[in-house]
């Protein structure tokens, strides 16, 4: 048996935020009298961390600890309109809507504090720990709890805010395709090392090295979750998955997880990730949203690694052992390519 090591490279960018715009998202923020806040959304957390990232965004904007904020997602009676969690729009659209809502709520909280401290709201800052004080004079201070309490019971102010984020609908020119597709791009480059068994056509992913540029990493652990899981899915799309194994023939379509093959826990390879953070001009705190793009560089990187290993181009996904074996037969055996 001969095992051929191969190395492949790919680089990609990814449009963040739903293509062409025209897709608003809204958020509502309000506080209890003790300065603890709720964020009401109709947005969806399908595992990407919507609840968690919007919670941090709200806390940062309000200037209070994250523990003082909870996010409720997806109740159409309480959560204002949102198009949904898809097209890498969640963090970008909903995050910006939450910033707008939290900014409005913060303003009321600061006015209430100003009234209590008998100063101008413009002179006040939050310390992120639950206090509001006069710029440069930390001693002249009031807790966010006291400020919100006063707003509620003394001043009759609602410490609340509404936010919407809309990227207006772009035109598309029918002749040239001129358009404003999105407002920012994430980036990635990946190098994958694989082994190819030239007798069975089996591919074993040995190691992945990657660099992802995701705008500001709003929560590094959530970014890590997306990149690690997304790269696994990229492997899967390249070497395993299809609903139609003999496409365009419809026969033998998988109906369970035994037939719909994906990499098992014994197939995964070490993945060394570097993250770059170039803030997006209009992303929430510069965040872009890595959820969709993270799988994309893996497909071509693995495909190119197969060529590098045995000299056959498989341009038809998934790259099953059968496709490699047929290509090797047509080529008359493996032709390993120079390594970089």
């Amino acid at each position: 048996m001969t095992i051929h090591r191969g190395r492949g490279f790919a680089a990609i960018n990814y449009p963040i935020g739903m293509n062409l715009g025209g897709d608003p998202s809204q958020a509502l923020v309000h506080s209890n009298p003790d300065g603890k806040f709720m964020v009401a959304l109709s947005s969806i957390d399908l595992g990407q961390g919507m609840k968690s990232v919007t919670r941090q965004i709200a806390a940062e904007t309000l200037g209070i600890p994250v523990e003082d904020v909870y996010v409720d997602t997806a109740d159409s009676d309480t959560g204002p309109h949102c198009m949904g969690s898809f097209a890498s729009r969640g963090t970008h659209r909903v995050g910006n809507a939450v910033i707008a809502a939290a900014t409005e709520a913060r303003a009321v909280m600061m006015e209430a504090a100003a009234e209590e401290l008998e100063v101008n709201a413009e002179d006040l800052v939050t310390d992120g720990k639950g206090n509001i004080h006069v710029k440069g004079a930390p001693s002249k201070s009031i807790t966010t709890a006291a400020a919100c309490n006063a707003a509620q019971f003394k001043q009759g102010k609602t410490v609340s805010g509404r936010g919407i984020f809309l990227v207006p609908l772009s035109d598309v020119d029918p002749e040239t395709g001129e358009m404003t597709p999105v407002t920012c791009f994430a980036h990635a480059a990946m190098i994958v090392d694989i082994d190819v068994d030239d007798e069975t056509g089996e591919v074993n992913v040995v190691e992945m090295n990657s660099c992802y540029e995701v705008g500001r990493a709003l929560n590094p652990r959530l970014v890590e979750q997306q990149l690690v899981g997304g790269a696994w899915m990229g492997m899967s799309h390249t070497l395993w998955e299809t609903t139609e194994p003999y496409y365009p023939d419809r026969s033998h379509g998988p109906v369970d997880f035994n037939d719909y093959v994906m990499p098992g826990p014994g197939d995964i390879a070490p993945h060394h990730i570097s993250v770059l953070e170039r803030p997006a001009p209009d992303g929430p705190f510069g965040g872009k949203g890595p959820g969709e793009m993270c799988a994309n560089p893996v497909l071509p990187a693995v495909t190119n690694a197969v060529f590098n290993a045995v000299g056959v181009r498989i341009d038809d996904l998934p790259i099953t052992p059968e496709k490699i074996l047929r290509a090797l037969a047509a080529q008359g055996g493996a032709r390993p390519q120079p390594k970089w």
Binding site: M1, E199, T200, G201, W240, P245, Y246, H252, G253, P254, N258, D259, Y260, V261, M262, P263, G264, P265, G266, D267, T320, P321, E322, L325, R326
Partner: protein
């Protein structure tokens, strides 16, 4: 039609209940039957169970081990007497499947399932139907899809004299647990370094586990080295009709059967 469940103490009563109804299915471990029930399968409306302790026993009988049809893969792995079958049982499903998947159920599993039955075929096991006489497993499998199903009480498996003479490999697309692209079981008794009386069986290389008779003949009197096995490899798929399914095509199975057979015969582990 709602499903009714009938549980019997004795295997014989269960067998009678099955024989009496065309719409009854025997419930071994549930991996096949419960899946069908969950999917609303209209082919049967009665589940027959038996709590007969004989179905769960593993016992030595001369040179053989008698394994109850209701014995699970987990039991096989834990059993000293059936230790030579542990490597096979270990690659049947994941841990939560192995606690219920039974030896008897595997005899009826359609490709690509049925790796354990392939191993029993290579080991020249006999199938003991309830209230019947032992049937060579080959004949049992040949008749399986044609004749009305009979409840199996146990399988009688001759224990290989030399444990190294029995080899098994399951090839799958997913690690560590995946359904078979193919599996190969081989009993390779040697005499003075030469193979004598080999039995080789494939799983997932046709509708049911099949013997590779051409391979067996080509191995007779040969040594287990590159040169010795060459004729066997060229005969690897003679008389074999692999299926095409979601995991692999007939073409691929034909291509790689000799490769995995070679690796098994030369004991090349990857």
């Amino acid at each position: 039609m709602p499903v009714s469940v009938r549980t019997f103490q004795g295997a014989e009563e269960a067998e009678r209940a099955l024989a009496a109804s065309r719409t009854a299915r025997y419930f071994g471990g549930g991996t096949l039957v419960m899946r069908a029930v969950n999917a609303g399968d209209q082919a049967f409306d009665t589940i027959v169970r038996a709590t007969d302790p004989r179905l769960r026993q593993i016992q030595l009988q001369g040179d053989s081990v008698v394994i109850g049809a209701g014995v699970t893969m987990a039991q096989i792995i834990a059993s000293r007497d059936a230790a030579f079958l542990a490597p096979v049982a270990k690659v049947i499903g994941g841990p939560a499947i192995r606690t219920v998947a039974t030896v008897g159920g595997n005899l009826f599993a359609a490709s690509p399932y049925g790796d354990f039955a392939a191993a029993l075929l290579a080991l020249d096991a006999k199938v003991m139907p309830v209230g019947g006489a032992p049937v060579p497993i080959g004949d049992f499998l040949d008749a399986r899809d044609r004749e009305p199903r009979r409840l199996v009480l146990s399988v009688i498996v001759p224990r290989p004299r030399d444990s190294r003479a029995f080899r098994f490999v399951k090839v799958s697309r997913v690690k560590p647990k995946g359904v078979a692209v193919l599996s190969i079981a081989a009993l390779l008794p040697t005499n003075g370094g030469r193979v004598s009386g080999a039995r080789v069986a494939y799983g997932a290389m046709g509708g049911r586990p099949v013997r590779a008779l051409a391979v067996e003949q080509a191995l007779e009197g040969r040594t287990l080295d590159e040169q010795g096995i060459a004729p066997a490899l060229s005969a690897a798929t003679d008389g074999i009709n692999p299926q095409t399914d979601a995991l692999a095509s007939e073409w691929y199975r034909r291509q790689v059967a000799p490769v995995h057979l070679k690796r098994l015969l030369l004991d090349q582990r990857r």
